[in-house]
């Protein structure tokens, strides 16, 4: 962190300035250790930018909570493009659009093409597949997964797995993977060494944050049972438009901010809808997460737009 223009440090300082809840994790001897942002700003080296997480851009939303979601996505893209060292990958963890409409997907793709964030990887959110089949989503993003939505790939020694937990809903239920996808995941992980760092990305939280609002994945435990033997597992989710994180053994769970609008804290208000905040506060509640490789460890850093 010797370079004061380092965007990671700048992001951390901004979070502190606004009293944000950002926390940074480093992996130490197979265990992820949370650090405060004060420590992060002073002790963490800049690291190799590994990848970026962007989530819940909700293109098509136009209500009071943020009448210009395309504008805030553009600001997010500008934030990334201004980074001194650019990530090689960007993961979008779903709800690219608000109503799954073709025009919304086209707008989002047009904007994302401006992002100098390397290769773009996506998983759908429930807002992207409201037609049931996800026709518009898969027409644009189906290729890497052969139109299944879930797939895996390797990058710099890290194994990345994109999962879909928004197309297998049960009444009164949480998100779900379904048996077919879980069988695929088991096979995908079967031959891998436990020392391979794993990054899983999916839209809905893979642990139950708030059951009454459906903030969880009903059959996540099955997926986690395949992941527990690995020394470093980072699970990145979206959906709830705010940062919530927890560490369980070698597994770090983290939900990202939205680029569109915040949502209330669990259980506050009528339901998990858009939260309108004073205009000056909005950009402090929107942002992205960048993940760096710091001395062979993964470090998560949350950045806000203001």
């Amino acid at each position: 962190m010797s370079d004061p223009s380092n965007p990671s440090r700048r992001g951390a300082l901004q979070c502190m300035a606004f009293g944000g809840a950002g926390t940074l994790f480093t992996l130490s001897g197979g265990l992820l250790t949370p650090m405060t942002l004060v420590q992060a700003a002073t002790e963490i080296p800049s690291g190799i930018p590994l990848f970026l997480q962007i989530s819940d851009s909700h293109i098509g939303f136009n209500k009071q909570a943020n009448p210009d979601v395309a504008g805030t996505l553009k600001e997010t893209i500008a934030l990334v493009n201004a980074m001194k060292t650019r990530p090689a990958l960007t993961l979008h963890t779903g709800d690219i659009t608000h109503l799954s409409r073709a025009a919304e997907f086209d707008t989002a793709l047009g904007l994302m093409q401006e992002l100098r964030g390397g290769e773009l990887h996506t998983v759908p959110g429930e807002h992207d597949v409201t037609d049931g089949m996800g026709t518009e989503y898969f027409a644009r993003f189906g290729k890497p997964s052969d139109n299944r939505g879930y797939y895996s790939f390797d990058h710099q020694g890290v194994h990345f797995i994109g999962l879909v937990n928004v197309m297998n809903f049960k009444p009164n239920g949480l998100g779900g993977f379904g048996d077919e996808q879980l069988a695929w995941l088991r096979t995908d992980l079967a031959g891998r060494s436990s020392s391979t760092p794993i990054v899983v990305f999916a839209h809905m939280p893979m642990w139950t944050i708030y059951e009454s609002w459906g903030w969880g994945t009903g059959d996540a435990e099955q997926a986690l049972s395949y992941l527990r033997r690995f020394g470093s597992v980072t699970i990145l989710n979206g959906h709830i438009h705010q940062i919530v994180q927890k560490v369980e053994g070698n597994i770090t769970f983290h939900t990202a901010r939205s680029t569109a609008y915040p949502q209330p804290l669990a259980g506050q208000g009528d339901g998990p809808g858009p939260l309108t905040v004073p205009a000056g506060k909005l950009r402090r509640m929107l942002g992205i997460t960048d993940i760096r490789l710091v001395r062979h460890h993964l470090a998560l850093n949350d950045n806000t737009l203001a």
Partner: protein, 108 residues
């Protein structure tokens, strides 16, 4: 005498029932505060049921037996489906599957 009155009352009641059924051939369910209101509705066959979303958050109306499915309904958007066949139709919002409802269709 009692028996005679009962026999007369029955056809009159039937007529009233038919009249009220044809008068309520349309039925509206309001979607508000992440709930279908009313959640459980009984309608005679041939009724057009309309859902209207009054939340700022989009919702869908998705049959669990693939009998009907709305697009994402934004605030003030409506979706209608005509129920011709008697039966019990359960549905959810596919964006918020905590939201559930039932349409019971009875023979006219």
């Amino acid at each position: 005498m009692y028996r005679f009155k009962h026999l007369l009352a029955y056809p009159i009641a039937m007529l009233l029932l038919i009249a009220s059924a044809s008068a309520s051939d349309a039925h509206t369910i309001v979607i508000k505060k992440f709930m279908f209101n009313p959640m459980d509705v009984t309608v005679p066959a041939g009724t057009d049921v309309t859902w209207e979303n009054q939340d700022g958050e989009p919702h869908t109306v998705v049959s669990l037996t693939n009998d009907f499915r709305s697009q994402a309904l934004d605030e003030k958007d409506k979706f209608s489906h005509r129920f011709d066949k008697p039966g019990t139709y359960k549905y959810i919002c596919s964006i918020h599957p905590k939201m559930v409802g039932t349409i019971t269709v009875v023979a006219k």
